[in-house]
């Protein structure tokens, strides 16, 4: 077993990491695996920035009158926390890192359909990010990540145009990535790889790409119109001039609701991969799980009005959106049932990826169920605008999507880096994340139910205990996130060398070396077996 570190030209086998050196070979690469790493570094940076703003907020909220900042500053903190976490971390995370890295490998292709477009996507993302960072440095934005008009278009004197331009630009990164994925999955599968032999991660990425391509352009035009309004004050969103604030909200949520499915579907795909591997079993109801991904993507476009129940929207529209919101929960629930059915009578091992996947199932279920409280019109009237909503979406976005991302990183790290990380530390970190997360956000359900409004820089004194619990939890959560950062970096130099298939998993990506060569496979694979063809199964494989 060679102890050579990657980068040693001596005896390390040729792979995508040591194929070429120098900053030019990274910044001008068209290799989807290197582009995935460019994204990985970038989104980690933005996660730290967004997390920093969260930290300031939780410190501030230790005291009822606010412990740290002026209310105007607090408004800027929650706005930028939301903008950065959503657009610059969550939306790209799994698709741009794991999707970019894995899709060609999983389907037996040399690269994505449009490698140069892939690199352009990253550059677009960076340019958008720079605009957004500029808006933060040049005074910040205080409108909330939702940019509701007419405050954002007429009355706010913060950097609305800059951040709108930043997010507008980054949207095209998503659009081009989604386009790339759709064409790749349709046109570049290896011989024998029919749709129903694809890994469920691919189904999830395909569904996500549908949302990328059909939803993000509407966000782009909305931000464009917002920027024009902010600059020229013509009035399409301003009641005083004949416009309607709800027009903005309809356009905004038409994208932003499906956006939450952009953030969760890839994580669900990751969870399917992890569960199949660590339960050594084909996912129960494979086809239904695949179809449910597409169903979530489609139905997700029909429910946006549930963000507008208390805005003065037509009550009939509210009724329809409420009903559809209940419907969209069904495919998600189907997935949860299928995962747990897979686990039934399976031979389960509890390595770090599996811990994250199991945590995902529990926390996502809680987040999803609390969404039902909000989908019902009557309860939403009470809970809207409170910390209940904040807890609900953090359970899904952090308890779900971030855990999915971390689980995926732990699962595929040996493939990506050619190194293994210490499982003891990884399991500990997963436990710390789980405990810290629940301590941070469960009190917020209670706070919201008791009536504490969101986006307020102060609160009634009787809510302090729960707020302090939440802040304490946040510090634990932060530690939990720091630990993997340390051992992943450590492993790149000191971790044991990983073999091609350290987990004994099924899937084409495990048939090539860790790390893979630049062209992915020395010989293009031909697929003859079903997905997840692990050992003796409970059910016979159907054709």
């Amino acid at each position: 077993m060679s102890t050579a570190t990657p980068g040693t030209r001596g005896n390390a086998p040729r792979n995508y990491l040591n194929a070429d050196y120098g900053w030019r070979s990274w910044l001008f690469t068209v290799d989807h695996k290197r582009i995935a790493l460019l994204y990985m570094v970038s989104i980690t940076f933005f996660f730290v920035v967004g997390g920093f703003f969260a930290m300031l907020m939780r410190i501030h909220l230790i005291e009822p009158q606010g412990a740290l900042v002026q209310p105007e500053t607090y408004n800027k903190l929650f706005t930028l926390h939301g903008v950065i976490m959503i657009f610059f971390f969550l939306v790209p995370s799994i698709p741009a890192v794991l999707g970019n890295f894995l899709i060609p490998l999983m389907i037996g292709a040399r690269d994505l359909a449009f490698p140069r477009l892939n690199l352009l996507s990253w550059y677009i993302y960076i340019v958008g990010g720079l605009f957004t960072l500029y808006s933060a440095i040049a005074g910040g934005v205080d409108t909330g990540w939702t940019f509701y008009t007419p405050y954002s278009s007429t009355y706010s004197n913060t950097q609305v145009t800059a951040v709108a331009v930043g997010v507008f630009i980054t949207g095209f990164s998503s659009i081009l990535t989604g386009l790339n994925f759709i064409v790749t999955i349709h046109k570049m599968r290896a011989p024998g790889l029919t749709w129903f032999r694809l890994p469920l991660f691919i189904w999830a990425m395909y569904a996500t790409s549908i949302i990328f391509t059909l939803g993000t352009p509407v966000l782009a035009i909305t931000l464009f119109l917002l920027a024009l309004e902010h600059l020229f004050h013509v009035g399409i969103f301003s009641p005083a001039l004949g416009g309607d604030p709800l027009l903005f909200q309809h356009l905004f949520w038409f994208y932003s609701h499906p956006a939450v499915y952009i953030m969760i579907l890839p994580a669900m795909g990751v969870v399917s991969e992890i569960i199949a591997c660590f339960a050594r079993k084909r996912i129960f109801g494979y086809k239904i799980v695949g179809f449910s991904s597409v169903a979530i993507a489609v139905l997700g476009f029909l429910v946006w009005g549930h963000h507008m129940f208390v805005t003065g929207q037509s009550i009939y529209a509210g009724l329809i959106f409420s009903l559809l919101s209940f419907l969209v929960a069904i495919p998600s629930a189907i997935k949860v049932f299928n995962w747990t059915s897979t686990l039934y009578k399976a031979s389960i091992s509890y390595e770090a990826p599996m811990l994250y996947a199991l945590g995902f199932i529990g926390l996502f279920t809680m987040g999803g169920l609390t969404g039902m409280f909000l989908a019902a019109l009557a309860t939403d009237v009470h809970l809207n605008g409170t910390y209940f909503i904040v807890a609900h979406f953090h359970y899904i976005m952090v308890g779900g999507a971030v855990m999915g991302y971390l689980g995926g990183m732990h699962f595929w790290w040996p493939k990506i880096s050619g190194r293994k990380y210490p499982n003891g530390w990884a399991a500990l970190a997963a436990a710390i994340v789980f405990v810290g997360f629940n301590l941070t956000f469960f009190p917020q359900f209670i706070l919201g139910y008791l009536g504490m409004p969101r986006r307020y820089a102060f609160y009634p004194a009787e809510f302090q205990v729960l707020n302090v619990m939440s802040s304490a939890g946040a510090s634990i959560l932060g530690v939990g996130y720091l630990i993997p950062l340390i051992y992943f970096i450590w492993s790149m130099r000191y971790g044991p060398i990983a073999e091609a298939n350290p987990w004994g998993a099924k899937g084409l990506e495990w048939q090539t070396s860790s790390p893979p060569p630049t062209e992915n496979f020395t010989q293009m694979p031909v697929v003859t077996e079903e997905a997840y063809a692990y050992g003796a199964e409970e059910e016979p494989s159907r054709g």
Binding site: A109, P115, T213, P217, A220, L225, V234, G235, G242, F254
Partner: protein
């Protein structure tokens, strides 16, 4: 890769053969056009709602546009779609000379469209009905806009400039793409086996034409001219 040089001219490394590459390129541009449908769709939706709310004002604003220029521009743009389709056809049959000629004709017609548009925009400045930049309607124009509400008429002109402006921006990008094609075509880059870039730009150009096909009646012909 065991293809002969002729079979692999223009073949990118991630594809097995030119047929797969052409398929992928075509699907790619169609998916992109669908994203453009949704992009324009957002502003069309906004327009639809505000027009429904303020029909009188929108009709009054619309009547201040020059229908003849709009119709002429429509014909010009349709002509450019014809020449674009013919340039793709020339590439398909390997006729380099006519490929270049038709591409240049498309550019000329596109340029003519933009020229008329520039003239129309300038007219609006002369008449002082450009929202926020030069909004001071007077005389006969004021008399026509006042009944529907000046603020609401301003909303109409916002959409006029925003929608035709976005469309013109797409046309300018298209002109750039056409120039790129002309330069490549003159170097003999395209063969009957490899002409996907021409087809891809052609599909984009036709899409931009279709957007105008809807912009013309929706902006110029509101409420009729009787």
């Amino acid at each position: 890769m065991a293809e002969t040089h002729a079979e692999s001219v223009g073949l990118a490394h991630q594809f097995e053969d030119l047929a797969q590459q052409h398929d992928a390129d075509t699907l790619g541009i169609w998916v992109f056009l669908v994203t453009e449908i949704m992009f324009f769709g957002g502003v069309f939706a906004s327009y639809a709602i505000l027009r429904w709310l303020y029909f009188t004002a929108f009709a009054a604003g619309s009547h201040l546009l020059d229908v003849r220029l709009g119709a002429i521009n429509t014909v010009v743009l349709l002509g450019s779609s014809l020449t674009m389709a013919l340039s793709v056809r020339s590439a398909q049959i390997g006729n380099r000379r006519f490929l270049v000629i038709f591409l240049i004709l498309t550019m000329i017609l596109g340029g003519a469209f933009l020229g008329v548009k520039a003239y129309e925009y300038n007219q609006k400045f002369v008449e002082h009905i450009v929202p926020s930049l030069d909004w001071a309607p007077e005389g006969a124009i004021l008399a026509r806009l006042a009944p529907g509400g000046l603020d609401h008429a301003k909303l109409y002109f916002f959409f006029y400039f925003a929608m035709t402006g976005l469309h013109a921006l797409h046309m300018i990008i298209g002109m750039g793409l056409l120039l790129w094609l002309v330069l490549r075509a003159r170097k003999g880059n395209f063969t009957p086996q490899y002409f996907a870039p021409v087809e891809v730009v052609g599909l984009y150009w036709h899409f931009v034409d279709i957007v105008w096909i809807f912009l013309f009646p929706l902006l110029y012909l509101i409420g009729g001219r009787y």
